[in-house]
């Protein structure tokens, strides 16, 4: 059985189906493979773990004590990853690593960033990828060469994302500006700039919806904006409880109709963005969810704090469905 789109009922029925709790600390980031049923996580214990999301099984675990693990994402190959480092950035400069989980080997170092990488995104179409660092630069890379393909200097913490078609990438800059680049001729500079009016907080995270129509911005003060990806208009915005240093993450569903997000109070929320309204709210189960991603090709999402949880639609009407949204103001 496979779905083409979700509905309110299904979103509301999402429930925790699997819990992995042996992470020795916070989970920094999670990433899905674009096509395979695979998930990778990076956590405070410097491990990278590979999960089978169809069967809710941990497949592999590797440790990276020398470099640490921070941002991580799959390349197009199901056992290759890009991972950013947390340690020894100054001495080695090896801020990014291209790894293979197949034989637990580093395939390539990408040197250049002088500080921690906070945003990492793989092109959905080819071998290029992008990294935004606290050294206030964004770099473009190609997996096949260790030389940087392009650098962009900003004045603040960057957040980067490719659209799901690989045609465009977006870089969020200081002052709430989101610049769009043509991924084929980015050398000419951005072709468009959106300003998220009124909110000057730094953008933590950008995501594009699969249909390419919407863009999702998460700011450091836990506001979420859904923008029209063509015109940059704010479609809707949600304000969530502050979470003091733990960035929250928001995600689109694959059909681009819903947005899910964690909150500082540990709850999870789901909104319909076509006619903006809260669809579901889940009580706090695992603390503040710092990583939240919906699987690219499944009706499931993962939420992670210090534990990793897989959420799937609850078909039997057994325990604890999401609380219907209350009128209570968050």
């Amino acid at each position: 059985m496979s779905l083409t789109e979700l509905d309110d009922g299904l979103v509301r029925r999402m429930a925790m189906g699997a819990v992995f709790s042996d992470f020795g600390g916070k989970i920094h980031s999670v990433g899905f493979h674009r096509t395979d049923d695979l998930l990778v996580t990076s956590s405070e214990d410097d491990s990278l773990r590979l999960f089978d999301i169809a069967n809710a099984k941990q497949l592999k675990i590797t440790y990276h004590k020398k470099h640490g693990t921070d941002r991580v994402c799959f390349t197009h190959h199901p056992s290759s990853l890009i991972c950013s480092s947390r340690y020894n950035l100054e001495s080695t400069g090896e801020s990014l690593r291209y790894l293979s989980m197949y034989d637990n080997r580093i395939l390539r170092y990408f040197k250049g960033h002088k500080d921690r990488v906070v945003s990492l995104c793989m092109s959905p179409i080819n071998d290029s990828f992008m990294s935004g660092s606290l050294d206030r630069s964004v770099r473009l890379w190609d997996l096949r060469v260790n030389a940087c393909q392009g650098i962009l200097h900003l004045r603040g913490r960057p957040a980067v994302a490719y659209d799901q078609q690989g045609l465009v990438f977006a870089i969020a800059m200081e002052g709430g500006a989101v610049k769009l680049f043509d991924s084929r001729c980015y050398d000419k500079g951005p072709f468009d700039t959106f300003l998220v009016g009124g909110d000057t907080a730094e953008v933590n995270d950008i995501k594009f919806s699969n249909d390419g129509k919407s863009m999702l911005l998460t700011t450091t003060n836990n506001n979420i904006y859904v923008l029209d990806a063509y015109r940059g208009e704010k479609k809707c915005g949600f304000s969530l409880e502050p979470s003091q240093g733990t960035p929250i993450e928001a995600t689109f569903t694959p059909d681009g109709k819903y947005v899910l997000s964690g909150s500082g109070d540990g709850t999870l929320h789901a909104w319909n963005i076509e006619n903006p309204s809260e669809v579901a709210r889940w009580e706090n189960n695992i603390g503040v969810v710092s990583c939240l991603k919906w699987a690219p090709r499944r009706a499931m999402f993962v939420a992670a704090s210090t534990v990793l949880t897989f959420w799937i639609p609850n078909d039997g009407e057994s325990p604890a469905p999401a609380d219907p949204p209350t009128d209570q103001q968050q």
């Binding site: 496979s2 779905l3 429930a15 925790m16 189906g17 699997a18 709790s21 675990i61 590797t62 440790y63 020398k66 390349t75 190959h77 056992s79 293979s100 197949y102 034989d103 637990n104 080997r105 580093i106 395939l107 390539r108 959905p124 179409i125 071998d127 964004v138 096949r144 260790n146 940087c148 393909q149 392009g150 962009l152 200097h153 078609q165 690989g166 045609l167 800059m173 680049f181 001729c185 000419k188 500079g189 072709f191 699969n210 390419g212 990806a229 063509y230 003091q244 059909d255 109070d265 540990g266 603390g287 699987a295 499944r298 499931m300 534990v307 949880t309 799937i312 609850n314 325990p319 103001q329």
Partner: protein, 953 residues
Amino acid sequence: MDAFKEEIEIGSSVESLMELLDSQKVLFHSQIDQLQDVVVAQCKLTGVNPLAQEMAAGALSIKIGKRPRDLLNPKAVKYLQAVFAIKDAISKRESREISALFGITVAQVREFFVTQKTRVRKQVRLSREKVVMSNTHALQDDGVPENNNATNHVEPVPLNSIHPEACSISWGEGETVALIPPEDIPPDISDSDKYFVENIFSLLRKEETFSGQVKLMEWIMQIQDASVLIWFLSKGGVLILTTWLSQAASEEQTSVLLLILKVLCHLPLHKASPENMSAILQSVNGLRFYRISDISNRAKGLLSRWTKLFAKIQAMKKQNRNSSQIDSQSQLLLKQSIAEIMGDSSNPEDILSLSNGKSENVRRIESSQGPKLLLTSADDSTKKHMLGSNPSYNKERRKVQMVEQPGQKAAGKSPQTVRIGTSGRSRPMSADDIQKAKMRALYMQSKNSKKDPLPSAIGDSKIVAPEKPLALHSAKDSPPIQNNEAKTEDTPVLSTVQPVNGFSTIQPVNGPSAVQPVNGPLAVQPVNGPSALQPVNGPSAVIVPVQADEIKKPSTPPKSISSKVGVMMKMSSQTILKNCKRKQIDWHVPPGMELDELWRVAAGGNSKEADVQRNRNRRERETTYQSLQTIPLNPKEPWDREMDYDDSLTPEIPSQQPPEESLTEPQDSLDERRIAAGAATTSSSLSSPEPDLELLAALLKNPDLVYALTSGKPSNLAGQDMVKLLDVIKTGAPNSSSSSNKQVEERVEVSLPSPTPSTNPGMSGWGQEGIRNPFSRQNQVGTAVARSGTQLRVGSMQWHQTNEQSIPRHAPSAYSNSITLAHTEREQQQYMQPKLHHNLHFQQQQQQPISTTSYAVREPVGQMGTGTSSSWRSQQSQNSYYSHQENEIASASQVTSYQGNSQYMSSNPGYESWSPDNSPSRNQLNMRGQQQQASRKHDSSTHPYWNQNKRWR
């Protein structure tokens, strides 16, 4: 609101009380009226019920007249008050954090604190005046001085503005009588002492100068009769001293400070009420790090002495337990507050935990039918005491506690059973218990006294160190209670301690950074805090689990905040697991989701890496680890370390959007080269006329020429005229010879073999997939490009058709299509350049059919064209990614395109015959269309797909 209440309490004469009441009432009513007005107005304006909840909260604590969004939300108010209860000064950073936390402005936070502070000051002043005024009343009435004292001391204890009810309730219960037995003037005292008793308070209260204070204190020092001193204490003399102490500290009157400390030493403070003690403790504690070592040492010494003292008394009290449960308890509380204060610099949480605990207690009191004197709160206070005892110890505890927290949960789930258990607690102590307690106390004391001689300057951790065992000891030391509880709950003592600890983990709401009691003495106000309350609601041990349970109910605002933020952040993994297990459903493979084909969500279609890795994985053996232990700490290093690249060569990507003109031009050129590349497959290389910038400049200088070229019918233009025109151009464009030289050089460069395929694979791949960038259409430049792009299909189709001479009939339709194009001013500007040099080509092409004799003329033009094209190219290469690859083909293909055009021109007559009216104006329009097509052809390169498709169709 709280001010209101407090002042009622304070009001000592009926008149002033009534006056106050009335003025407050008036104010209150006017505020309510205003509120109503605002609400109604907003209702009318917006049609929506303005946030009633928020308004109500606002009305209670905040001025009305602000816009609703400017009002502090109740949560924020509660939180601010909680913070204010701890400290009355706030740093910028804290205010920023608070503002971020509640979505209020920093200014609001600051304002809140300033107003609160002034309010408190006013009250303190007022109350002090009243104390002086009603001195006699106070002396006669037992309750009143207590009350006054509670609100009276200035510096060390800001009024706890959250729960004024708390104190009123606690005192209202009349338990104070039990707490501090009314000790009236002792009967058997000497005359001098009597005189002291009669006069000291009036003098104390009146005294403003330090010298006078010194005199009075010396007088106090002379009093040796313990009963008098106790009387002095019980009347709140300590609080006055405390006030002086803080004043002296702020005025840096070291001699006064020393004297006050001496007096405090002299006074039998163990007899003082815990409220008084905590006040003075704070002040003294604040002096621990006083600049002058003498004072700080003395303060430390005092503190350690008191610590010892209370430990001793505590132990003593055990003996006559039955009679003085309450006393011992108050001692415990006292000790606890000592501990708190001493630990406070690192434990803001604990302080808050107390205040929260208090709020909890208040609720208990309100809900329970009446205060039960179960006398069991000793253990509770010990727990808290332990909590606050030692910072480092505390931290440790908290970590441990994280793991143990589920116990708390378990306890929270069964409050009923616990309650039953506690009913058996008030069982009288057995002689055995007492004996044990005594032994233990003695042991502890000996330990303490051994440790004590340590120089107190070492710091509070040293001083506190004996506290820890003490705490433990006292926890064990109320044996009937503690043991009982341990039995009934069937958990080790540790876990009974734990709930309180667990509660404290909730506290990090205000986070270590949010509330740093920098100003130590101001940190706590336990006067009307739990210490005052606990005697009233005895079974606080019961409360603890209830608290744990209630964390989930966001009913009490201050706690709902804390539970919301704090608990979740610090949730132990066990708790989480427990939570999860409860809610977890059975796993099943989640249904797949089909993505809409039209979205063209990419999945690494152009990735080479995936293949490379696939191949590599075929060569390599997969590494698997049998157990967790065998997994290496680091992955294997790469097979070969690559050389570091030169980062200075990394191309810089502009982060600013290029201005429109500059974007148009290179784009056109890029497009031209791409279309050329596309056409190159069918063309043979020839020397080519390229768009000529010099010519362009010449044309721009001679608008007449442009007009001549564009207005007249091309076929009608005489060959000689043409030559003339070109001569004009030539003279306008200097140095054609040098440009031809340059051309030769450039040729060499151009003919170098290109290292990469002529067409960018990524590009052509994109084009062939036919995905057009949805974004480019949206931006301003993109609009033009995209719009022309839509026509371009027609244009290019037409062009190829004419090129192959296959279906000439289609040409007219193409024309009409292009004519319908609406030209905006902007577009015309954009097309100006391409238009112009296409005019030129047009002109060149005209020559071919018209006059072969003009070939000689054409040649230099061609040279010029290529010559300048090189300069153009160099210009492009600055910002173009592909510039070197396609030049050769570009120049070659240019020929084809113009050849095609010339063919098209030769088929022009057909077009003319088709056109019904051959008027010049109409023709001009057509010309424009033609030019448009030409320029559009440039754009068409973005869509080689179309070119190729149409060609083969």
